[in-house]
Symmetry: C2
Subunit: 245 residues, 2 copies
């Protein structure tokens, strides 16, 4: 749904327009029943996956729940919070388990007639060495020791070298995409609520989530309802978070 | 640096303008030497921390490196990659360790004259119970078992109940903020490169990073240089990542 001409690309959002968009996004907890059109959902997902991500392995997936019966089953899973009565819930999943397929995809979908040699090599050799942790994470354990030794001589990337590292790695890229997703809905006039309050065990059953996938949030989406925002905005002073060097 | 009137808030970025902004963001690996003004950096950090985050505990911090001598020391830490020659590098840190102070801050900085009772209770009782994992994570271990039992009867939030959960939790919110940060720089006409390729042990020494903080990326920032983008954009078909339910 690219509805602007290439000329518009130079426009983009101004700092003022982006600030207004970001400031207008709040966690909204009451929605109107009005459905979100599929074309809008698709447009927002397209913007989500344009987020930067580790080695372009795109370690994310999304379950778009619009079916009223399924939404009704999700409501108690979210401990019956109001936000979970939204007409649309998107389960945002981090995928530490899809890097191997993604390496193959990178070559298959390469957007130029010839895949450059350095790209072939990276996705055939470098990335698999970097991301494969082996059964029980034993290869990762070995790599951790190897890197520790080699890094005595020169700087080296030391992670991800465990399954825990892989989870952090995938959650990071997926959260970058999730922020794009929320801003995209906001730009279309739809409010969102990123929910972390859910029963993960029940969620996995209801949505049949793959064992290795990590649900990082359930994103409630819809038109903002009355008294949709519960609290005033509060951010601690920037000075607490920022060191200037 | 709020440079627009409240009336502009209704404007925000249109879906087209946001798409153009997001599409124009690429990982740029060659920068011009031109410095990034502090006012721009501050504006972008302000937008970063408006990201949604877990229980508003704002588990992030940023080290803004502009000093040429320090930048020169960071270059080898980033395995001497071109992107690390940028005039500005921001170390984006996830903070699983600051929730206790943040609970106190929520009451101290509450933006209304009276702090509502439910807010006081949440940050004095609920949040500490939820996030405190105790020494060696033993309290988390106990909570995991308790939740498992109680959840036999009704849906319950089961995480974060380990130090590993806390790390995922903090990385998630921090990455949401990092995406805002990159889009903000983009809106100001500055390019970025989120670098994960760095030697974490050396980085911690050079920037004196607190032990529990997790550097999720080093963000290189500057004006885009010639041949700054290395590869064509490639995203796998949306159908691979999305399930419609």
């Amino acid at each position: 749904m690219t509805s602007f001409s290439p000329d518009d690309l130079s426009l983009g959002a101004s700092p003022q327009a982006l600030r207004a968009l970001i400031e207008s996004r709040r966690a909204v907890r009451r929605f109107l029943p009005e459905a979100v059109p599929d074309a809008v959902i698709r447009d927002c997902l397209e913007l989500a996956v344009l987020a930067p991500n580790s080695c372009n392995l795109q370690p994310w997936s999304f379950q778009v729940v619009r079916d009223p019966a399924l939404l009704a089953r999700l409501h108690p899973v979210c401990m019956s919070q109001n936000a979970a009565k939204a007409p649309l819930i998107i389960a945002v999943l981090a995928r530490p388990d899809t890097w191997k397929q993604a390496c193959a995809n990178m070559v298959e979908y390469w957007p130029e007639p010839e895949v450059p040699g350095r790209i072939r090599h990276f996705y055939a050799k470098t990335a698999p060495f970097q991301y494969n942790q082996g059964p029980l994470g034993l290869l990762g354990l070995f790599k951790r020791q190897l890197v520790r030794l080699l890094a005595l001589r020169k700087p080296l990337m030391r992670k991800p070298n465990s399954h825990a590292d892989m989870r952090l790695w995938a959650v990071k890229s997926t959260a970058l995409a999730a922020e794009n997703l929320m801003l995209a809905f906001q730009s279309h006039g739809y409010a969102t609520c990123p929910m972390e309050g859910f029963d993960e065990v029940r969620l996995r059953k209801v949505l049949d989530i793959p064992r290795q996938a990590i649900p990082i949030m359930l994103l409630a989406v819809g038109r903002q309802g009355e008294k949709g925002v519960y609290n005033p905005r509060l951010r601690f002073p920037l000075e607490q978070h920022v060191t200037w060097l």
